[in-house]
């Protein structure tokens, strides 16, 4: 046991001595949080829109006013005809134009149905979609009020009927990014750093001595992995605290359950790191494999940025093999919905099986010999 203790102490010392890496490890989550939280926002505020009102009656004016009053929009252009639409979009400032048909209020009263057309500038499709959704929800609110009064209905052309945005009604992106960030940071520290640290031993020739020493392979693996586990947990805490107190992200689930799930994902990442290092012979390879093989899929295919459901079928299929995808479902569930194990047991089980598989593989690949 003393043998193992000595090994772990050495690992901590080495990490502690490498001040630059340490700074990156602790600084990165903070920088990423700030970047994603402040700079890269998905929600819209003060998007400029135009109104083409063929009717100019009470109802259309109330609706225009509601749009204007919302934090999301500023009505900046009043159009006279369809011809102006393209010109406005070309200028680039106006993101959306709302068109009310002729005799809007009259039709609404007589037939119970009136059309609103929403034209968006889809050069930025994400933004266009958001603008559309926001407009939709403002109109629906108004309809709901009207309906409550006299049971009429306004139809919105080109808008899919949508359910209410539950759990994240303001569509705040920071709420979605936090779970994704946790996944990325854990991958980076647990998998990347572990694989680099093990391959470094190989490169320097020290691994040969460790192998011929009484240390058992699992001693070496656990000793290598332990410090990064501690670092990862510290980082998860940092992100959570920042999320709750700086960005006011809701946390509805149980803390303990969250940390258990995070622990499971840390294990997954560590096992992946060990697995990579058993195949790679130098730090460069380990780094490339970790970045290209783990980090990119975690960012792109886990549903962190692009929703899995809107991916081509092949990629959806691939995404099933990405641990972060399952972790994201779990963490979003816990944080935003307050899910417990009953609700995410399937994802947890999948993650658990993956982890066990990787640990098994890396123990098997981690040879007692060089070949």
């Amino acid at each position: 046991m003393n043998t193992f203790k000595g090994f772990v102490i050495k690992e901590f010392k080495q990490i502690y001595r490498d001040k630059r890496t340490l700074l990156v490890l602790f600084g990165m989550p903070v920088i990423m949080m700030v970047l994603f939280g402040f700079a890269i926002r998905n929600e819209i505020s003060d998007a400029q829109i135009g109104v083409l009102d063929f009717s100019r009656d009470d109802v259309t004016q109330t609706l225009t006013h509601k749009l204007q009053a919302s934090k999301s929009f500023t009505v900046n252009a009043w159009l006279e005809s369809y011809e102006e639409v393209e010109d406005l979009f070309r200028q680039g400032n106006i993101k959306e134009i709302v068109v009310f048909e002729q005799n809007f209020a009259e039709k609404l009263e007589r037939e119970g149905v009136a059309d609103i057309q929403v034209i968006t500038d889809a050069t930025d499709p994400n933004l266009a979609k958001l603008v559309q959704a926001y407009t939709g929800s403002i109109v629906r609110d108004y309809v709901a009020d009207l309906n409550a009064e006299n049971g009429i209905e306004i139809q919105q052309a080109g808008l899919q009927p949508e359910v209410r945005m539950m759990y994240n009604p303001e569509l705040r992106s920071v709420n979605l990014f936090v779970p994704g960030l946790i996944a990325i940071i854990l991958m980076l520290i647990s998998a990347l750093m572990t694989s680099i640290s093990i391959t470094r031993e190989k490169e320097m020739g020290n691994m040969e001595i460790l192998l011929v020493s009484p240390l058992k392979p699992y001693h070496i693996i656990i000793g290598k992995v332990l410090p990064y586990m501690v670092l990862s947990i510290v980082n998860v805490l940092t992100i959570l605290l920042l999320a709750r107190f700086v960005f006011e992200v809701p946390f509805r689930g149980s803390n303990l359950f969250f940390f258990l799930e995070a622990g499971l994902f840390i294990m997954t990442a560590l096992a992946l790191g060990v697995f990579i290092s058993s195949a790679a012979n130098n730090q460069q390879t380990a780094m490339m494999v970790s970045l290209a093989g783990l980090l990119l899929p975690t960012v792109l295919l886990s549903g962190f940025i692009f929703p899995v459901s809107s991916m081509p079928e092949v990629l959806q299929w691939v995404s099933h093999f990405i641990p972060a995808k399952w972790f994201l479902v779990i963490v979003r569930g816990i944080m935003l919905k307050g899910s417990d194990l009953m609700l995410v047991w399937k994802e947890t089980l999948i993650l658990g099986v993956m982890t066990a598989g990787f640990i098994g593989l890396s123990l098997k690949k981690f040879n007692v010999r060089l070949q």
């Binding site: 000595g6 090994f7 020739g205 020290n206 010999r369």
Partner: protein, 307 residues
């Protein structure tokens, strides 16, 4: 005397490369055994078979009567191993490195201080310095201390003196001599031929084969041809002339004097001098010289090529 290492008909291939071809030898207890040969000769592969990190494709190897394949767990703690280009942990101090290797082998610095003391005492003034900031010679001493810390029965040193200056190399070999007196068996490899003389027995290795195993002096004695040293201020012209001389068997630059052997065995000094004079080479001096281990090595290589 006990046999510590027993290698019998061992071959090892890496893909198409035959790293070791049917190698056999023994190392006796308390021996200082040298593996002498250039880079790529197969020395490192041989070390890794002895220390159980690689398995031979053919043949058997035992260390202290334990089989390297079956009993690797028994063998490993008995070994002190210093890999080639071994560089310690640069970001740990001298003392921390030593303590780390002690703890890994389940012992402490204090417990075996006596054994490493003669070496470590030279390092102690710098014990708080990072290993990365040590000079080449000092690093070797620290690495040796680390390999010794658990009192191994067999010390395996893979090119410990490569890239180290002559003074540090001499000190290093002095240390090996005193460890030998402690009864530790040592297998050491080196590309420096002159270090062969410091071993009890050496194996000359070339391209995965052992050309000869013997005491260094006896290897030198096996060089039977009379050897002449030839010198002139016109070094290059002299070399060219001797390479073209019809009776030249071998000619090698050897510093001040070139080493020459004659096809006829016993050279004809007069005709040699006349030939060189005719070639326009001035101030020629010729004297008989004693062969050294390098002469023997090159003669062996030469014979190997002709076979």
């Amino acid at each position: 005397m006990k046999t510590i290492v027993h290698i019998s008909s061992v071959s090892k291939n890496f893909g198409k490369v035959e790293a070791l071809k049917n190698i056999s030898f023994e190392v006796k207890e308390g021996e200082l055994f040298g593996l002498i040969g250039p880079d790529g000769a197969g020395k490192t592969t041989l070390f890794r078979i002895i220390n159980t990190l690689l398995l031979p494709d053919e043949g058997t190897a035992t260390v202290l009567d334990h089989d390297v394949e079956k009993d690797y767990k028994t063998i490993r703690p008995l070994l002190g191993y210093m890999p080639g280009h071994f560089s310690l942990y640069q970001d740990l101090t001298v003392e921390e490195n030593l303590q780390f290797f002690a703890s890994v082998f389940g012992t402490t610095l204090e417990e075996n201080y006596e054994l490493v003391a003669p070496i470590y005492s030279q390092l102690e003034p710098f014990k708080n310095r990072l290993a990365g900031a040590l000079s080449g010679g000092m690093k070797q001493k620290l690495a040796l201390s680390c390999a010794l810390i658990h009192k191994p029965e067999l010390l395996l040193l893979d090119e410990p003196t490569t890239g180290v200056d002559a003074v540090s190399r001499k000190e290093f070999w002095d240390m090996l001599q005193s460890l030998k007196k402690e009864g530790i068996t040592i297998v050491v490899s080196t590309p420096y031929m002159d270090e062969a003389n410091l071993c009890d027995r050496v194996a000359l290795i070339q391209e995965g084969e052992i050309m000869q195993i013997d005491e260094p002096q006896r290897i030198v004695n096996s060089f039977e041809k009379p050897l002449l040293g030839v010198k002139s201020p016109q070094t290059y012209k002299l070399l060219r002339a001797l390479q073209q001389y019809k009776w030249t068997d071998s000619i090698h630059p050897f510093g001040e004097y070139m080493h020459y052997t004659d096809k006829r065995g016993k050279p004809n000094l007069v005709s040699l001098k006349t030939y060189l004079f005719d070639q326009g080479i001035s101030d020629v001096q010729i004297k008989p010289v004693q062969p050294n281990i390098e002469d023997a090595f090159m003669a062996l290589m030469h014979n190997g090529l002709e076979e």
